[in-house]
Amino acid sequence: MSARELAEKFLGHVEAGEVDEILGLTTPDATVSLVPLNRHGPMAADGASYLRELARAVPDLLVRVRRLFVTADNTAVAEITIDGTQADDFLAVANQEKHFDLDQAWMLKVTPDDRISAVIAYWDQNQLYRRLGVKRLDQITITAW
């Protein structure tokens, strides 16, 4: 499987909320950096925790790949847009059933034997808060209609 195919498979599992399948694509010691959440650690712990929370809170999640390329070191770089409707508290934001979309960039480093060994994700958490009705960064749990 090429790095491109692996990335498409990874993102398809994100859309479907299939976290175990995502972990099945990674090496046992794969790392994750969710930059805006300042979460850096094992994919099996930090990555899985975030993806499970996303799947639970946004059950109608859609992932649209806007750009995908593979660099010479076999890293797949994807610009995606996620969108869906909040159905439960998410990253400490109370649920108001708001629909949101959010542009993100993901980098997946792929080993020669076609496993993902590192995941790095960037997005603007301020955009997510704005779309979910958060007004102040020191009061994330307080939202407004």
Partner: protein, 163 residues
């Protein structure tokens, strides 16, 4: 899941090296606050998109999106004016054979003027960024996209408003 507008490439090529050289020159010009040089490294109609850059008003939302020669140049100039010691450090750089380059860079500076809704309190910030470039066969940047987290930026500068 839908997939659109894909570019792909693998293997080390002169195009890859040329693209990396252009991007390194871009960040060097940024460190030197040489906005004209930054623009000169871009094609005349180069696209520009700073994804987190959104200004919400009652009537509409303004996005940091357009052309390097207009929107990009204004944002860079305004940033350097507000953060006179603005600097950057490239932490990773990877390219493909089709001119795509992904660069992670730490950008930081000390605030000397208000910037958007961030009132100046003299604070300093350091923030990881991801830049995605496309460099043409002629060695000019023809597209720039950047991602960062405004929550971390604003918190470091003492601004706690989402909008």
């Amino acid at each position: 899941m839908t997939t659109v507008a894909l570019r792909d490439g693998t293997g080390t090529t002169p195009r890859e090296e040329s693209a990396e050289t252009t991007v390194r020159a871009f960040f060097a010009a940024y460190r030197a606050h040489d906005v004209e040089r930054m623009v000169d490294l871009c094609a005349e109609d180069a696209g520009f998109r700073y994804v987190p850059f959104e200004v919400w008003s009652r009537q509409r939302v303004l996005h940091g999106e357009g052309k390097v020669c207009t929107v990009g140049k204004v944002i860079w100039t305004t940033l350097i004016d507000a953060f006179p010691d603005l600097t950057n450090a490239v932490t990773s750089l990877r390219a493909d054979g089709d001119g795509n380059v992904a660069a992670e860079a730490g950008i930081g500076g000390t605030q000397a003027k208000d910037f958007g809704i961030i009132a100046c309190a003299g604070g300093r910030y350091e923030l990881p960024h991801l830049f995605l470039f496309h460099v043409s066969g002629a060695g000019l940047i023809d597209d720039i996209v950047a991602y960062w987290d405004n929550v971390a930026w604003k918190k470091q500068l003492g601004c706690l408003e989402v909008d």
